[in-house]
């Protein structure tokens, strides 16, 4: 029997094993009907990578291979589910580090082959967005979602949970990348987001008027010009023999980033008739960003959601939720699917 003949519909119970290894977490989960998370096992390598100030790809891949079976075993055990009970298997297939992605993607393919169940390839960023729906299942739709991290800056529109439309994305540097680079340049520390935010708290955000990228009617973002403006400012001040106030500089830089992000959200809110705004990704932890967006959407009477955990770590439960909606859409992957390190939403 082909697996196509045993696909279930929304009214039946659907169990999905989801795997994730795109960055430095090896994770497995079992979800029932999407939002019901039966188990969520995350084995983190953060300590391993701390000394490098970022993830070292080969070290991460080796660790993923080592942790693969233990996390799968634990996820099944905690959920009280056997391999034979699964209706589908899912894995992240991008974006991320290829070496890591291939570990769980290959595992998921082999599970799909061995058990004759469908394979679902999930975009890691989509997973992060769906994570919000686990915490807040009642978010009103349609909604606008801004996902911002070291690697991404994407603005999305969700009519319902079954799919989304991309409104805009960064053309060069991601918002989180800009924070990291400015932080390293000003020697404020790693990770850059919290370091710049901290310095900004004691600075004057109106001290320096950094330019905002003008991208016309589009919902796109660009931060490389801002990054270069900060460099130029510092170089020029130093040449003039002036002292640099890192706090003022951080505050002004942060304000420029936040303003670009918030402006596009407002633009989208005006064009689309939405009920909520959702922030996701590491940069969503930025307090100033939350504050500015709250203020600016207030008059539109919308709910604003952002992840509760300051550190919205990678996990497989969120991949499982995204996978469930893909299952309902019969959005299955062929066994020839490969990892895509720069996969876009």
């Amino acid at each position: 029997m082909k697996f196509e003949d045993k696909i279930k519909n929304e009214t039946e119970d659907i169990y999905i094993l989801a795997l994730e290894s795109s960055c430095d977490e090896t994770a497995a989960s079992v979800n029932k009907n999407g939002l019901e998370v039966l188990s969520n096992v995350v084995s983190s390598q953060v300590d391993l990578h701390k000394k490098f100030g970022g993830v070292v790809p080969e070290i991460a891949s080796r660790k993923h291979l080592e942790l693969l079976l233990p996390v799968i075993d634990q996820a099944l055990e905690e959920a009280g589910i056997r391999f034979e009970d699964l209706d589908a298997v899912a894995s992240t297939y991008g974006p991320g580090l290829v070496g890591g992605l291939l570990v769980t993607l290959t595992a998921a393919k082999t599970i799909s082959f061995s058990l004759n169940i469908p394979l679902i390839g999930v975009n890691h960023i989509a997973g992060h967005i769906y994570a919000n729906f686990i915490e807040n299942p009642d978010i009103e739709k349609p909604l606008i979602c801004l996902t911002i991290s070291g690697g991404h800056t994407d603005l999305l529109y969700f009519e319902n949970l079954r799919g989304y439309k991309i409104l805009g994305r960064t053309l060069d540097d991601a918002a989180g990348e800009a924070f990291d680079k400015i932080s390293r340049f000003l020697e404020l520390g790693y990770p850059g987001g919290p370091a710049v935010e901290k310095a900004a708290r004691s600075g004057d955000k109106t001290a320096i008027d950094f330019p905002r990228a003008d991208l016309g009617d589009s919902y796109n973002f660009s931060f490389s010009g801002l990054k270069t403006s900060v460099m130029n400012y510092v170089n020029n001040e130093e040449q003039r023999g002036n002292e640099i106030d890192k706090n003022d500089l951080s505050a002004s830089f942060q304000e420029a980033v936040v303003d670009s992000l918030a402006s596009n959200i407002i633009k989208a809110v005006k064009e689309y008739d939405v009920k909520s705004v959702v922030l996701s990704g590491g940069v969503a932890a930025n307090q100033r960003l939350r504050e500015v967006i709250s203020e600016r959407i207030e008059k539109y009477n919308l709910d604003l959601y952002y992840p509760k955990l300051e550190l919205c770590t990678d996990n497989a439960a969120m991949i499982g939720v995204a996978a469930y909606y893909q299952y309902l859409e019969h959005d299955f992957a062929p066994l020839s699917i490969s990892a895509d390190p720069a996969l876009k939403l």
């Binding site: 891949s61 079976l69 391999f83 291939l102 290959t106 082999t110 082959f113 061995s114």
Partner: protein, 237 residues
């Protein structure tokens, strides 16, 4: 015993099914970095062609390198999952040993290209005259510059050595210049063949030598140092 052999360690994607002494199917595909896309579809294909179901396999054997780290992890992950789901034994075999086990000579030097005039090598003795087809390791796998090999093999100058694999012509030239006795083998003996892998794995498992599925991992060999370092010229102005 139905044994599945999987090799994604080099450009050769190898997949074989052997049952006792019969090769039921063997694929050796010369592909460049398409292993992730091809492996599972090929598995579907091989099982469909033979008309058996995956749960029928009794053992999974996999090449553990040296080779591309990413490629190696594809095959090893597949073997681990199969072993876990079907509760069967798994065995990892050195890619160089697979090559050595495919020729009939006494002293064998299998090679894999490590680029920039470097190779991965291992050195084996095969007592095939006594019908023993499991190679004995004389020198464990390592990386070296081709120019270093005569020194590495200095204790075997009086033996007839069969040199196989990638870069063999360069290595043979080098060893001949240094007065070694060297042989070659037929063209098809120069790749790690999937059926040889499956056979080796089956023999080891028969002897009770299986691997722990949780511990199985690639041979992570370091690339030997290259001769030219551009650091001085382009590093700082």
């Amino acid at each position: 015993m139905l044994t599945l052999g999987i090799d994604t360690s080099t450009d050769n994607l190898g997949l074989a099914l052997i049952e006792n002494d019969i090769i039921k199917a063997e694929y050796n595909l010369s592909l460049k970095r398409k292993h992730s896309e091809k492996l599972l579809p090929l598995m579907v294909d091989i099982f469909a062609n033979i008309g058996i179901r995956p749960q029928a396999i009794d053992a999974a054997v996999v090449a553990i390198g040296p080779g591309s780290f990413t490629g190696l992890r594809i095959g090893i992950t597949t073997a681990k999952i199969l072993a876990r789901i079907f509760d069967i034994p798994v065995k990892g075999i050195s890619t160089l040993e697979i090559m050595a086990a495919g020729v009939e000579s006494e002293y064998i030097l299998p090679l894999l290209d490590a680029r920039r005039e470097r190779v991965y090598y291992s050195f084996y003795k095969l007592n095939y005259k006594e019908n023993d087809y499991l190679p004995k390791t004389l020198l464990t796998a390592a990386g070296a510059r081709i120019s270093e090999l005569s020194n590495i093999l200095r204790n075997y100058k009086d033996k007839e050595i069969t040199v196989i694999g990638e870069k063999r012509h360069e290595v043979i030239d080098h060893l001949k210049t240094n007065k070694f006795l060297v042989n070659q083998s037929a063209a098809e003996k120069n790749i790690p063949r999937a059926a040889v892998l499956a056979r080796l794995g089956r023999d080891y498992i028969d002897q009770g030598q299986k691997d722990d599925i949780y511990e199985l991992k690639p041979t992570y060999l370091k690339q030997p140092q290259a001769e030219i370092d551009w650091q001085k010229k382009y590093g700082d102005n």
